[in-house]
Amino acid sequence: MVTNSIYLDYAATTPLDPRVLEAMLPYLRDDFGNSASVHSFGRAAEKAVEGARRTVAEILNCAPDEIIFTSGGSEADNLAVRGGALAAREKRGARHTITTPIEHEAVLATAHQLQQHFGFELTEVPVEPTGLVSGAALEKALRPDTALVSVIYANNEIGTIQPLAELAEICRAHKVLLHTDAVQAGSQLELDVQTLGVDMLSLGAHKLYGPKGVGALYVRQGTPLLPTQTGGAHERGLRAGTANVAYIVGFAEALRLTAEERETHNQRFAQLREYLIAGILSNVPECRVTGHRLERLPNHASFVLRHVNGNDLLMHLDLAGIAASSGSACKTGDPKPSGVLLALGLEPEWALGSLRLTVGRGTTEEHVERVVRLLPKMVEKLRAENLVHA
């Protein structure tokens, strides 16, 4: 696809790093074996998969057999929350789960399903207006029959980074599992599970310059887990399905490159992000940054604009050659303020005007300058039209 458009939606997905593609190709072209086979073809595939597993484990600072490869972040979330909750019920009669209203839908939908179809009770711990979960609020919600807690490491919509180590300590003291969705965080933050203190952690490749369709779940040794995808004995019986060798290799390589280049990229991202935030706040009236101002992903600039229709804004931006996203837009024309924004306490006339700009490896200074130049007039025009046709 040849386009002049500026891509500022790295939080939605990232381009495949050419080095990752190179690492994947041999397993798409030549080494096609099934990693579970006894023969030499199988062993070659197994070597690739296990090599990838060791790479991932090293970055997460865990043992290789604590890594389960999945089809992506959503599947990892499903396995952690449903698998973890059902196993905890079987083991110790747990009947309760805890999440927050700002979780990714893969976690929320799974928690709601447990509530509606599996007899679990659910507590959503309220968050502060910055999106932060307070340790005190979490502690209050914990019960003796709580199976697990799931708190997103860094939220995709508002960029806020949670104090996971602190929350993990509280969960540990109460002997409750802590899972974190680190799909968005994975591209920029430290993933040392010993430092973070979590029991389970989800990752997705396509947010960190890897391919779509592959991810992983870290599961601390000794954590009871009921498989959600049953079948063969793959992944120690926890996730059936013939290994997606090429993609697993790609995921590991993408993660390796990310860990290696993290600091360099993060610095540049933060500069670009600050330029966007400063430029937009000072030139667009009635505009606020959402999420925590400091504890946020380096590449993440998110706003709410009063009396602006997020859907309309995206259309105008798209036609002006700028790709962004909004928590209140809807591809099928049914925009609603996102649950995340409402959970922060924003009024609808603000929450419907959400705009998310996320930079990445391909973003240049010219790109962000262009946005800062175009946005104020665009917003002014949309607001004027809103008033006329209200």
Partner: protein, 368 residues
């Protein structure tokens, strides 16, 4: 290279709007496809039903846009549609008239909401798959603003100028009807030529927001209890029986009323205040004149004297010769040379001069 003219093509996923969009692309416009999300009745599975913007039709429209390589966006107008079209529809029936929501939809949704969206996106035109034509008139010696006319389509069977009669100069100036010059069979041929993935859907006369085409069920459900059984009377007040709710009967209806007399009796009108359905003999049915309110003139100029025109008193009615006399307060009197038996208050009476649409008005209720 000159910059292309930007056009927003209203898309529904159906053959007509798809071919219209394809023609525009072929003609060299910069086309942007837009589809509106309208109000629909909530369904059991949590979805909503509206024939025009079901997930299937939206997916279809998306596929067409993809094939034509044009941007496609969905825009939300559920609230506006609900209040200006659906509620209008319900209120009309409750007040004893038979409204035509499709006329109102063109007035408020297509040529107001959607046109504004198109202009906001810096498009010069909004194009639809309607069968109708716009003609720009030559300026007399370069004076004043260019005038536009709304014309019937070439295909008289498909002509949709009736519902478009609400358009005025401000709308016509920005309107394109790529299908106006084609017959429906030619449009189908074009669909084949463009290789458009459009299944030929059975043409439905039903309102888009009626899930099952059953307006009685809809009105009973959403009418807020305002639709009640009441007396069936003659004009002199004699009670002959009971009706099941005023909206369930049409002017000129003879069967299914449940009353009988020495002569056949027809529904001739209603008295909503008394919730009474009025029946009468054939002689009492109909009139050779009607009055309209909310009179609208496409040229933007209200006529000052009586004039001759052909008038359609409903979408599928034949045009009948009449004399139109403008009255104060946006009203007009329409006098026919013959008695018409199916004059239905609430419907639009559209005035034509040959192929040119002059304007319209909403037929007023007359107390029988």
């Amino acid at each position: 290279m000159t910059k292309k003219i930007r056009v927003v093509a209203a898309m529904s996923g159906g053959v007509d709007s798809s071919v219209a969009a394809a023609l525009l692309v072929e003609q060299g416009f910069e086309v942007i496809g837009l589809m509106m999300r309208l109000w629909g009745e909530p369904e059991a599975d949590g979805g909503v039903h509206n024939r025009c913007c079901s997930p299937d039709s939206m997916a279809q429209a998306r596929r067409v846009a993809e094939q034509l390589n044009i941007p496609f966006y969905a825009v939300d107008t559920q609230q506006t549609f609900k209040s200006k079209i659906v509620d209008f529809f319900i209120d009309g029936y409750v007040s004893g008239v038979t409204p035509n929501p499709c006329v109102e939809c063109n007035r408020h949704i297509r040529w107001e909401f959607l046109l504004n969206k198109a202009l906001s996106l810096e498009a010069d035109y909004l194009a639809t798959g309607h069968y109708a034509r716009v003609r720009a008139l030559t300026l007399p010696q370069g004076e004043g603003e260019r005038q536009y006319q709304l014309l019937k389509a070439i295909d008289s069977h498909k002509d949709q100028s009736y519902v478009l009669s609400v358009m005025g100069q401000a709308q016509l100036k920005h309107a394109l009807f790529p299908l106006g010059e084609y017959t429906k069979p030619q449009v189908r041929e074009l669909a084949r030529k463009f290789n458009l993935p459009v299944a030929e859907r059975p043409e439905s006369q039903d309102l888009c927001f009626l899930a099952d085409g059953n307006y009685r069920r809809f009105l009973t459900q959403y009418g807020g209890g305002n639709i009640q059984a009441g007396p069936i009377i003659r004009t002199d007040g004699t009670v002959l029986g009971q009706h099941q709710g005023l909206p369930f009967y049409t002017i000129g209806q003879r069967k299914g009323i449940g009353v009988s007399g020495p002569e056949p009796l027809y529904v001739i009108g209603s008295r909503p205040v008394e919730n009474a359905l009025v029946v009468g003999t054939l002689d009492e049915l109909g009139n050779d004149r009607l009055t309209v309110s909310r009179a609208h003139w496409v040229s933007g100029v209200m006529p000052t004297e009586s004039f001759q025109a052909e008038v359609k008193i409903r979408y599928k009615a034949p045009p009948i010769s009449a004399t139109i006399t403008p009255l104060p307060n946006q009203r007009a009197e329409v006098a026919f040379s013959q008695r018409l038996r199916d004059i239905t208050p609430g419907q639009a009476a559209v005035f034509y001069n040959g192929e040119v649409v002059l304007g319209n008005g909403i037929i007023e209720r007359e107390t029988p």
